[in-house]
């Protein structure tokens, strides 16, 4: 399957080749997505959510009929054409509020997950790569590991709640509270992957060939670690969002009418007794959270399947890889070749 190679030095040929590469990569991606319909659903919904978030920030009136916290005189109305998710006791349209909360929730979730990934990832890389006992790196690794172990013992929601108590309400307090409990997961993940990759034959081969440590880390280790981290990050957005809104629900996150956030909205409705009196109030933020988290989870879960080398063959649905794995494995030793091994009596080299 040789594609026509462009001459490496030529800029036009190089650009065209790069574009073709990207194009074929995208085509493969699309083919893979089609083979996993659930993942495609997740991908599409995530894309739609992203577009919605951008629209709400840039041109809010396209999607929301009412302004932020705009009071109307329609108190406590159920879902209707004017108010798809109903209104609350102040006449605020729940549907609009939910959309206004979307960018904030997403931004906070991405900030937390991203910071945890970067911070935890770096620590995990150090703990995994420079962990030879007796060196400075080794000592640092042990310290990192012990601290991480202690942090990992806490159920993250509970510790985040406890921190939020003392820090108080507010966006930054919320981010810090969750971030403190979140980074250990990335340390463990990245460390595990680093350890696994470190001993792979081709890393040892690179080292033997004289490649500098830094280049090894950057090229080989990071590239292999990146896949599971990306998968975990995607799933994490969902988990962070759930934690975030649970903290809001408990009453420790943001304060609702001033800062719209799905969890705080639900806390407000719960405290106002609206959930029993006016059950539709659950609809707006509840459905929003559920759909968002489900979309990210579908995408992440599907990505995990696609990228996992073992199930990759069954589920990626692309040509020869699937064939090779679907057929029962032929003998690995002494495989092909027109020269069958001699009879057992003749001692042959192994």
């Amino acid at each position: 399957m040789a594609s026509t190679p462009a001459a490496p030095g030529s800029s036009r040929g190089g650009a065209r080749a790069a574009l073709r590469q990207a194009g074929s990569g995208a085509l493969t991606f699309w083919r893979v997505l089609r083979a996993n319909p659930l993942t495609m659903v997740g991908f599409i919904v995530v894309a739609m959510i992203g577009i919605t978030a951008v629209l709400v920030i840039v041109a809010p009136h396209v999607l929301t009929p009412y302004g932020p916290d705009q009071l109307t005189t329609d108190y406590n109305q159920g879902p209707s054409w004017h108010h798809p998710a109903g209104t609350d006791g102040n006449g605020i349209d729940i549907y609009s509020e939910t959309l206004y909360a979307l960018p904030l929730d997403l931004a906070i979730a991405f900030a937390i997950a991203g910071a945890a990934m970067l911070g935890g990832g770096v620590l995990g890389l150090i703990a995994g790569f420079w962990d030879r006992p007796g060196t400075i790196g080794g000592a640092v690794s042990i310290v990192i590991l012990r601290i991480t172990d202690i942090f990992l013992a806490f159920p993250s929601l509970i510790l985040a709640l406890a921190i939020a108590v003392s820090l108080g309400r507010g966006v930054w307090q919320l981010i810090v509270a969750i971030l403190i409990t979140w980074w250990p997961f990335y340390v463990r993940l990245v460390r595990g992957e680093t350890l696994a990759v470190k001993h792979l034959p081709y890393v040892m081969a690179a080292r033997a060939a004289g490649v500098t440590e830094r280049r090894i880390v950057l090229r080989h280790i990071l590239r292999n670690v990146l896949e599971p981290v990306v998968v975990y990050f995607t799933l994490d957005i969902g988990t962070v969002l759930v934690t975030l809104s649970t903290i809001g629900f408990v009453g420790l996150g943001l304060a609702y009418p001033s800062q719209a956030e799905w969890g705080s909205m639900m806390s407000y409705y719960q405290n106002a007794g609206l959930i029993t009196a006016a059950p539709w109030t659950v609809l707006g933020p509840g459905v929003a959270i559920f759909v968002t988290v489900l979309a990210f989870s579908l995408l992440g879960d599907g990505l995990r399947d696609i990228l996992d080398p073992r199930s990759r063959r069954v589920l990626a649905g692309t040509g020869t890889g699937a064939i090779a794995a679907a057929a029962p494995s032929e003998s690995a030793s002494g495989g092909a070749g027109p020269a069958p091994a001699a009879a057992a009596e003749v001692s042959s080299p192994a």
Binding site: S331, A336, P338
Partner: protein, 386 residues
């Protein structure tokens, strides 16, 4: 001619991947006579393992499908049997041993439990207490039995006995009380002794990872034979063993073939191993069976260019007098097989007709008394190839 234990007629196996179909085995026909050992030899990727695992319908059916043909096992077409009914035929009808002895035994269970499970299945079927399959009471001598009806397969009467009873110290079975635990243990020990494991009591409580490869393969053989199958399929049983252990296991198998009245389908890539054990030989290439016949005949005068080249390529001397002969070219990509005869790009006697017309599968060569078949238009000219 006696009835074959299994007769494969025109079997094709496809893999359905995405939108395409890929034919791993094309139109294969062969028979395994009762009490005979049929060897199938071929390179990696020629479809022999696919064929072997298709017979007891072991292939995962979603990607793999039977594209045509019949597998007649004691009168029943296994292709038409629904998958959920296959457990009745497996075990006591057809059994199988695999290549990797470490992976073939369940690492979580002790040896005793695994062999006892197999013995228990057979006993339960023999005594008629299995809802899945029932068996005739007493040792069953297949040679004296009339042709089974298709419904016999799972209404019960096709569990064969064999000569194992002569080799095994057997206690009286108490029909009323069923299978007792001491008797089960005795049977397990007996079968372990059958495969020449001395002091089998010592290994009963061990786990597979605590034993050597040769030991594990013997246990696999014991497990398979303890169910007294009519047909035993051996899928490269010695390929994963080192050469000395390979020799031991082969010797064991040859002796067992004498003692036990089970027919064997022996798959290997190793011509030497097949030469020691088989009565008939089938050669596969690129999913097709290109030659089939009594092994002495095939070795002495192969009737297909591929077989001839294969035999010629085997190193026969310590010091070579010249470079090793190999077959020019490469095995074809099975998703795009060559038109006509699949071997023609590499065949020294290829003619224009070979490019167009795939040779009829295994045409009989006149005059041979046990049939010797070859899928070559010019089978008679193969002798002349140097």
């Amino acid at each position: 001619m006696t009835d074959p234990v299994v007769a494969i007629e025109g079997l094709s196996i496809d893999y359905v991947v995405g939108a395409g179909r890929f034919r791993a085995v094309s139109d294969v026909s062969l028979e395994v006579e009762r009490g005979h050992v049929v060897g199938i030899v071929g390179e990696t990727g020629c479809g022999k393992s696919t064929l072997a695992q298709a017979i007891p319908r072991l292939l995962p059916e979603p990607p793999a499908t039977i594209g045509g043909g019949r597998i007649l096992f004691q009168g029943v077409d296994l292709v038409k049997v629904p998958l959920w009914k296959m457990p009745a035929i497996r075990g006591t009808g057809i059994n199988m041993i695999f290549q990797e002895p470490l992976n073939s035994l369940n690492p979580a269970f002790r040896i005793y439990d695994q062999v006892a499970e197999a013995v228990h299945i057979r006993k339960v079927r023999e005594e008629g207490r299995s809802s899945v399959a029932r068996a005739a009471p007493g040792p069953f001598d297949y040679s004296r039995r009339p042709n089974p009806k298709p419904s016999d397969v799972w209404s019960g009467k096709v569990v064969p006995g064999g000569a194992v009873e002569e080799a095994v110290h057997r206690k009286q079975v108490d029909r009323e009380s069923g299978v007792s635990r001491t008797e089960l243990r005795e049977d397990v020990l007996d079968y372990l002794r059958l495969v020449r494991i001395n002091d089998p009591e010592t290994i009963l409580n061990l786990y597979p990872h605590e034993l050597s490869g040769g030991m594990r393969q013997r246990i696999m053989i014991a497990m398979a034979l303890s169910e007294k199958p009519s047909l035993l399929i051996a899928d490269e049983p010695t390929s994963a063993l080192d050469v000395t252990i390979q020799a031991q296991v082969l010797t064991l198998m040859k002796e067992l073939i004498e003692e036990v009245n089970t027919s064997i389908l022996f798959i290997s890539h190793d011509l030497g191993v097949i030469a020691e054990t088989a009565d008939e030989l089938g050669v596969m290439y690129a999913g097709k069976l290109v030659e089939f016949g009594p092994i002495a005949e095939v070795f002495k005068s192969p009737k297909h260019p591929y077989t001839k080249a294969l035999l010629r390529a085997a190193p026969t001397r310590y010091k070579s007098d010249g470079p090793l002969l190999s077959i020019a070219g490469n095995v074809p990509n099975l998703s795009r097989p060559p038109p006509g005869c699949r071997f023609h790009p590499r065949c020294p006697i290829a003619r224009p007709v070979c490019r167009v017309d795939p040779a009829p599968p295994l045409a009989l060569i006149d005059g041979a008394a046990p049939p010797h078949r070859s899928a070559c238009h010019f089978a008679s000219e193969v002798e002349a190839i140097p």
